[in-house]
Every structure is written in structure tokens, then in C-alpha cells.
Amino acid sequence: MYRLTNEQYLDLYYYMRLTREFEETILKLYRQGKIVGGAYTGNGNEATAVGSAFALEKHDYLFPMHRDMGAHLVKGQTLRNLMLQHLARGNSLSKGRDGTGHYADPPLRIYGNISHLGAMVPMACGVALASKLRREGSVVLTYIGDGGSNVGDIHEALAMASVQRLPLVLIIENNQFAYSTPVAKQKAMEKYSDRAMGYGMPGFTIDGTDIEEVYQVCKQAVERARRGVGPTLIESVTMRMHGHSAHDGADYVPKELLAEWRKKDPVERIERTLIERKVLTPSVKAQYEEKIQATLDDAVRFAVESPYPPGEEAVVGVYAE
């Protein structure tokens, strides 16, 4: 067991709240027409994104997906940078070439997703391989959705990772839907973690709304990978509480299902726990809220005031020097 200190608990709470507020702001900006492309949230997935990334060290690598804004934040990404990405500004990490979490930040060891589901995981294997060959002791954490986990790339990546004993942790975020398709139409077995057996690697299914469980299981997987024993597959069971993206009203999701999952809202859950344990006092909570609001306001202001890249810059940088 990796015991969490009260201080760590408060950190987790802070990052989950921050994720929630950041994504609410993104939706607001989207509705105001300030985001020209798609806008995705991980509402319901905050404990999974935050708790898993919290299990990483600074020198570990993160390959996040579109529900994992919390992981970007835990890994040290600033709200300003994330806001610039969403608003496609010239001074964003991708220089406006791509949006949302699609950027690379090598100093932070964050490598954002490409849209093609599954495609990132073989690449994450390569990073894990490099870490292994250079005796870095760095672990690679990556994610895929319940739907995306059916893409063949995932199978190939897990085959390689398990045979090569790569320091890789893959989380399958089973949030009940892949766009409009319910998970029952994506798999015939009971649990996604059952797949692990086929690769000879450990597999776990966890309650993805329970921050403590997420952290414990991810931390064990990460440290196992670090010891060179090999990869782990974790199915994190959550709910996609919002539409697929901001444009999607998701009326195909049964209201009762949402109501059921709302009771397990991960952000409210950690808040309740910490209040019960008297770790989160009203004054600390107020402090956090103030800090989050101020950072968000700053990020929005900074990003809105930052210019788009000039059109002519489009041609720069197809090839490295």
C-alpha cells in the first residue's frame, strides 16, 4: 500500500477541482464561439486522470487522451498553455497547428494524443523501450477509451509491451459510451481487464471515480513497471457525464444512468471524504476556490489577448533542420 498523506489528498482534491473548473470554462468559451474546433471534457473522469498521473514521477512520461485534462495538470502543465492550445493561438505549444491537448511538451514529458484512436499506444511502447534501453527508470502512462481499445493498434502494442517487458501502464477508460455507442456494443467479455490475461500481464478493474483506489492501483502498476517487471493493464470504470464533445447533446444516454452516476461524482466524492476526515476545512476550500478562479481568469485573459499565428507561418517547420 502506498499511503496518501493529508497533504497529498489535498493536492489531489485541488487538481480535480481545477480540472472540473477548467473544463467548465472551456465549455463556456465554446458557447461564446471562442473555440473554433471541437471541445472535449472529462467530466466524470477527473479521479482517473488525476489519480493516475499522480502516481508518476517527474521523469515519467505521459501520453494523455481527450478525457485526461487532469493528467496534463498534475504533470505540471499550466492553465495558460492549455488555454492557448484551446484557443489556437500562435504562442501555444503547438503554435496553432493543433488544438486541445494535442501538443508535445518534452521538458514536462507530456506527449499529447493524435486523434486516431489507438495510434498513440504503440508509440508509447517506443518511449518505454527507449527508457528501458537507456536504463532511465522512467515509466510511460497512457490511456484509451472503451471504444478505442478495439482498434488493432492496442493489441499490437500490448503484445510488444508484454513480450519486451516494457515499463508501460495502459488505462482503459471505460466510461460506458464511445460517442453514441454503449459499451455493450464494444465488448462481449465481462471486463476489459480480462484482456490482460491474453498478454500475460496483470490486469485490474477499478472504480474510476474513487481517487484512492485509482491512485493505489496505478501507483503499484507504475512501480512494477519501474522495477522492470513489465506492463500493466488497468480498466477504470467511470461515466462520460457530458456529450462526446461540446456540440453533442447526448440524448442517447439514459437519464437514469446519468442520475445513478451523478451520485458518484468523483469531485464531490473526494470533497465529501476530505470534509468527513476534517482534512478539508471551509477556509482551505475557500482558499482553493479563490486560487483556481484567479489562475483561470489569468489564463483566459492571457489566451484571449494572445494573437493567432500569422497565416504565412503555416509553411514553417514541416521538416527538422
Binding site: I114, V151, E313, V315
Partner: protein, 324 residues
Amino acid sequence: MALLTYIEAISKGLWEEMERDESVILLGEDIGKFGGAFKVTKGFLDRFGEERVIDTVLAETAILGAATGAAVVGMRPVAEMQFADFVTTGFSQLVNNTASIHYRWHIPCPMVVRLPSGAGIHGGPFHSRNPEAWFFHQPGFKIVAPSFPHDAKGLIKAAVRDNNPVIYLEHKRLYRHVKGEVPDTDYTIEIGKGVVRREGNDLSIITYGATVHQALETADAMAKEGVSVEVVDLLSLMPLDTELILASVRKTGKALIVHEDNLTGGIGGEIAAIISEKAFEHLDAPVRRLGALDIPTPYSPPLEEFFLPNAKKLTAAARELAAY
């Protein structure tokens, strides 16, 4: 006759083919109750049922491979990729298997791959592809790219009935922006035949898909300057309507080839080669090409605008060519 959008015309044609022929089945992600990401198959599930409107697992190799398998034993599958870009995830099936089946096995592979393609919708590098050149280079595919609702319906019906794998490019920006008269009748458009959209004498713009509309704007603009522009809409990219291209160029003596796909290695290069081989002596100016820049599709609006062709860029190119 009915006034339909481009996307409604595709749906209409597909619907009619499913009514006509029980062997037509649909495979794709979210195409059932949801009607697909762009709603091409909205209402199909209720009418044709789960056995013919198949909401698949999220796996393009499985979709395209299964479509191929069903086709070789006599069904007529229509596979939808959620975005054209994601066809790459199942690429091996198509280019290695599907395309060469008739050549190797001497049996037809009658299937359609529907690809919502194109940029200009702030889709960034992964939701903006114009993938035609990949398939153009691989013998065995037919490729169609309608620009108006009338042809969108006629070509989807022809594609379903064709005994070869047909790549059907449907431009996302045209979906709801282009409307036109579409007959209610059961008609098809012959694959391999283009049309002259606008007659003209001074120069030919040869194009297909979304840029047809820009070419028509350009023709209007040039008419005001006293230049008569002919607009050739190819409709089919494989086979190419070589006769139509050559007839137009022989008449006008000047060719501007335009596509939204990026220039290098694009289909425009092949058309230019055909013109220079077969109509060289009729040319009054070097063949001119215009396409997107040779970069990945960028996300930020000014970058994307700089990257893409548009009516202004076409008009500038046409003006230069006319003055040559």
C-alpha cells in the same frame, strides 16, 4: 424534384439502394440509432433494422475487412468511416486486399467506402484529409467525388451497383452548405464521366469536389473582366474522364487544375501529365496547378486559410493564366 442539401442527397440515394436491393448493408461507427456522426444514415435503422444497419465496434480494419469479405460472397456493403482520416487505421485491408481481389481471385468485390473528407471546418491535422491520391495510386479502386446534390445521389447509387470497390468522397463542408434540385427518380450517374459545369472559351478550370464551387465563383469574377472560363467538374477521379478534359483544353488552350488536396503527388499532377502528353500542341500557356500547400492541415484559422485554396486564390491564378 426536391430541393435537397448535399448530405440529404447522399442519404436519399443510399436509402433508395437499400430499398431496391436487400444485399446492400451498412457498416460503421455510430451509424445506427445515432445516424452517424454527420447523420447520413439517420432513420435507416428504423426502416432497415439492425441486421442491415450495423453499428460496429470501433475498429476500422474490422469494418473494412468485413465489408470486403461480405462483398466477395455477394453482398453489397457500404462502409462509413466517421472521418476520411480514419480510413488509414484500416488501410492495409483496402490497399493490399480489397483493391486487388478481382485481379487475383477473378471475383468482384462490390463495396463502397464512404469518406467524409476535406478541410475548412477547423478540424486540424486529423479531421481534414483529402485522401484521394492514396487510392488513386492503387490500381483496383474507383473513386468518385461529387460536388452537387444531384450527382451526390446519382453517384452513390452508381457506386453501390458497381462491381468494384468504390471510394466515395463526400466533402464535409458541402454537406449542409450546398443545396440543389434532386430528382425523385431512380437515376445513376455513370462512374468515369465528368461534366462541363460552365461553358467558356478562354481557359479551363479542371477540378472536383469542394473546389468546383470556388471555380464557379472564379468564372463569375473573370466574366466581369471579360474572360470566359470553362469549369470542368470531374465527378469521377478513377477512371478519369480524359476525353472531357482534353476536349475542354483543346478548345480553350489553357488549363488550370485545382484541388483541395495538397499539391505534390496530388491528382492534379496526373491530369497535367495527360494534358501535356495528349494536348500539347493545343496549349497556349503552361498548365497551371493550384492545391493546398504541402503541409499537414493546421488548426488555427489563419493558418488553415493560408493553407487552403479559395476563390480569391483561384481568381488570381486564372487572371495570370488568362494574361499569359
